[in-house]
């Protein structure tokens, strides 16, 4: 890989990433043997110079490198948000709600309940926002990650613990149906018995 190719890979990744990238993260973009750290640093230095005349600049922040808008133009860019404040999609809010109320839950289970595929982008946004984390894996084929909400999630909503989440509204929720059925058919033998007889009859 030429020096210029290395610089191009770094440039592309730093442009596309929505968080700063550390040298280690940048190294992982390459096949082994990855460029040495000082090669990467030299490439980054080259990029910094290449963008000297542009409206964006390459800077180093605490957690790594990132491109950012140069200060004189930043205030102008802020008009974008004034005009259209960023909002979360319905899909994201519903995914977050399911994680909050049904945690721990896998992505597959969320998709099953919602009846729609959950995009990777949504999971990424929730993880990056720090509201959701992986707490384990379900021991089924594929070992899907189990998601739960975080401390930061509770803080954002001013809650001390999960139990303080508001109770679900009056939905004809199937679980309610199940509990209610369990109450109605309290004498335990009745319902199963009826079905058991039925099963015998059709067997």
């Amino acid at each position: 890989m030429t020096r210029d190719d290395i610089a191009k890979v770094l440039e592309a990744a730093l442009m596309a990433s929505d968080r700063p990238l550390s040298l280690d993260a940048l190294r992982r973009l390459f096949d082994e043997p990855a460029p040495a750290r000082d090669e990467l640093c030299a490439a980054l230095e080259g990029l910094r110079e290449a963008y000297a005349e542009r409206a964006v600049e390459l800077v180093e922040v605490a957690s790594g490198y990132r491109f950012q808008v140069r200060r004189p133009w930043a205030a102008r860019v802020a008009r974008l948000w004034e005009e259209k404040p960023p909002r979360y999609s319905r899909a994201l809010l519903e995914t977050l709600a399911l994680i909050a109320y049904r945690q721990p839950i896998t992505r597959g289970e969320i998709e099953e309940i919602r009846g729609v595929a959950v995009s990777s982008q949504i999971m990424r946004t929730l993880l990056e926002r720090g509201w959701v984390r992986v707490v384990g894996h379900r021991e089924v084929p594929g070992r899907p990650a189990l998601y739960a909400t975080t401390r930061a999630f509770l803080d954002h909503f001013g809650l001390a613990r999960l139990e303080e989440l508001p109770p679900l509204p009056e939905v004809k929720d199937l679980e309610q149906l199940e509990t209610r059925l369990a109450e109605v058919v309290e004498p335990r033998e009745t319902a199963p018995q009826a079905l058991e007889e039925a099963r015998d009859a059709t067997a």
Binding site: V56, Q68, E94, L98, A191, A194, T202
Partner: protein, 264 residues
């Protein structure tokens, strides 16, 4: 498909684009255990038909209906034998093929040109479907954001006008959850497609538990121990029975208990 044409003067089985076809196509056998996977690869009867045609390098315009029908029927029979859940569309197509085939056996009056070739409609549908199939594949190959397309997302320095993080209130969260649950309610029958419980079998069970001369309390038909899926299947079975007029439901007062009996 093991018959061998006589060695001396092979008699063509058929002519394809004027060329004699001497041997039956060799690629029609599929091991039964592969069939399930194989069927999932088809998007429906038109797709299966196209596959059968393409495997033999035939043009859609040149379908030998008799042969294709025979092959198609073989798949349908296999699917039935393996008790795969056979979509109704496959049977509809089987009936259509059979009809075309029988119509082609009838002698056609030479002068009367107004009656269309019975194959024409099928060919038209196959062709239209194939075009869409081709562009759908092309669409699947297009670069996509998040796979091959990466829009630049450059930061704005702190304190100068960075994008505010979207705000979410507890009300938003609650409303979202209510919406999910409300919809999950509507979509129940989609979830249970994956359940091992069959509505048909449950219909039989429910019916057997009921009598024509006595009312049974509705809730007794449910077994909460079966969980969500079981409750839903039973509920669907009851609705289905009701639709078919096999049972009657009675509720004497609003919110009162519901009773069920078998129709007399």
């Amino acid at each position: 498909m093991s018959e061998v044409p006589p060695a001396d003067v092979p008699k063509p089985l058929a002519r394809v684009r004027g060329e004699p076809l001497l041997e039956p196509p060799q690629d029609l056998f599929i091991p039964p255990d592969a069939l399930e996977v194989f069927l999932e690869a088809f998007e429906g009867p038109l797709d299966l038909l196209l596959y059968l045609i393409r495997r033999q390098n035939l043009d859609i315009l040149d379908i030998p209906i008799a042969e294709i029908t025979r092959q198609y029927m073989r798949y349908v029979a296999l699917m039935k034998a393996l008790r795969l859940e056979l979509a109704a569309e496959y049977l509809v197509m089987a009936a259509m093929l059979a009809e075309i085939k029988s119509r082609m056996l009838l002698p056609r009056p030479v002068e009367e040109d107004d009656e269309e070739d019975p194959r024409a409609e099928l060919v038209r549908r196959l062709q239209e479907y194939e075009r869409i199939k081709v562009v759908a594949e092309a669409l699947g190959e297009l670069p996509r954001v998040g796979r091959e397309l990466w829009p630049a997302r450059v930061a704005v320095p702190e304190g100068t006008g960075e994008a505010p993080a979207p705000k979410v209130t507890l009300q938003d969260l609650l409303a979202a959850m209510a919406a999910v649950l409300g919809r999950a309610e509507l979509n129940r029958h989609h979830c249970i497609q994956r359940e091992p419980l069959s509505v048909r079998a449950r219909m039989g069970e429910v019916l057997a538990a009921l009598r024509p001369d006595r009312f049974t309390e509705f809730t007794r038909l449910f077994d909460p121990a079966e969980g969500r899926g079981g409750v839903v299947v039973t509920f669907l079975a009851i609705l289905e029975l009701l639709k078919e007029g096999l049972i009657e439901l009675i509720q004497n007062e609003p919110f009162g208990p519901i009773h069920v009996k078998k129709s007399a």
